[in-house]
Symmetry: C3
Amino acid sequence: MRANYTVRSNRPSPFRASHLALRGLWNLVWLLLFRPSPRFIHGWRRLLLRLFGATVGRGVRIYPSTRVWGPWNLTLGEYAVLGPDVDCYCVAPIEIGVQSTISQYCYLCAATHDFESPDFRLIARPIVIRDQVWLCADVFVGPGVTIAEGTVVGARSSVFSDLPAWKVCVGSPAKARRDRTVKTPNSDL
Amino acid sequence: MRANYTVRSNRPSPFRASHLALRGLWNLVWLLLFRPSPRFIHGWRRLLLRLFGATVGRGVRIYPSTRVWGPWNLTLGEYAVLGPDVDCYCVAPIEIGVQSTISQYCYLCAATHDFESPDFRLIARPIVIRDQVWLCADVFVGPGVTIAEGTVVGARSSVFSDLPAWKVCVGSPAKARRDRTVKTPNSDL
Amino acid sequence: MRANYTVRSNRPSPFRASHLALRGLWNLVWLLLFRPSPRFIHGWRRLLLRLFGATVGRGVRIYPSTRVWGPWNLTLGEYAVLGPDVDCYCVAPIEIGVQSTISQYCYLCAATHDFESPDFRLIARPIVIRDQVWLCADVFVGPGVTIAEGTVVGARSSVFSDLPAWKVCVGSPAKARRDRTVKTPNSDL
């Protein structure tokens, strides 16, 4: 409990001017060239992300309404998908594996604040999503979380700590409920 | 658990070219004629939805920021309301009953994927919301769900299975907590 | 349970024409002057809110994508922050204290409906957020809620009833889990 405090000013930005200029430029590019681009030209948006430093595998699909805080912190494996209205808040690095799908309205949030420090210090921690993961619609992933290979996270779940491989996880906080078993093409016939 | 897999390409769209063209046209109409229309001309948006195959009762109110995946799969009873920023993801049919209100930020999600099939097959299942239902703000409704007459679902709840009639339901997954009893106009005085 | 009802019309708006005109004007100003303004000119947005009746302390930061239902019902203490995509649905008064931060995607919802009255009557109740509070990303706050000084509410939580001072609260409904202790600048070294 802290009954006495003095408010004198806004907290200064933890970022340098050159960084802020880069982000301003990226935001402008997003607004004018990325956001209005037709849905099906994923290659164009891959190009824009790469120009700003993202590592983007072939076949990646990113929708026009997907938001990316800073492409220089984003790594996308081959055939990964970032759906409509996904917010990729990559203040720290965010890595998404091969053929992983991040569905609409997901929010990958790689930053928080130390709310017990007097200056409300920014804390940025990487998010790692391995191969063949599926985050269903409107999943939240917090800073520092790793989701292991092949795991599915159910719609509207919130992930605050690491999840194991090849599980189906749901809830808030999301927990593993059962295994995910992908049938082979033959067994599926 | 599946340790070995080969990634060769994106999954092909499960939709035909003619369907994709229709959706492209609807998206264009939504962007140019629906989204920028003034809030109070609900009749204009009812007309646009009907032109694309929706069944829309009289008095229906749909806000300009409401999204509809494909109007041909949408049925709205008289005086139903779809509030601001509602996303009506009607990949399968979505039916909303007479005088039901879907409040702001609700997401009616009529599709998912079979995440245990090797091709991540699209699964679309109808959503049915009966008469006099109220979904409060930011409610999620999953594929295949029926919400029976008169039921209220509390703000921020997520509905993954059917809900009974004239109940108040909350939580994630949403469950019936108590009855909803609507006073008659006389008893209300 | 109410098996018989007659639907004859939409419910009339509970607001007067003069009020609706004022809100229309504010929406227009938001769309043309607030929403497209560059991120860093917070003073410009403070000015617009004050012109429409808001009480806004010095140093307040409000992002261009923040939505405000009606500025005349909004009070913001010094150095408060309303982040990107926050929705301030101040149908009743909303008060936010000194140096409190409302992070991205939060929804402060000061209205509901009496769903047991036959006319679905609008109920608007004030929201009070005291000084030094932090609502993390995507927190929902319902009508009539007071959050006491210094409390932190975790990402994605939903707040339906009052919260005590200097606690860390999470969940849906959000509950106090532990104390928040802010280190003094000296003890932090």
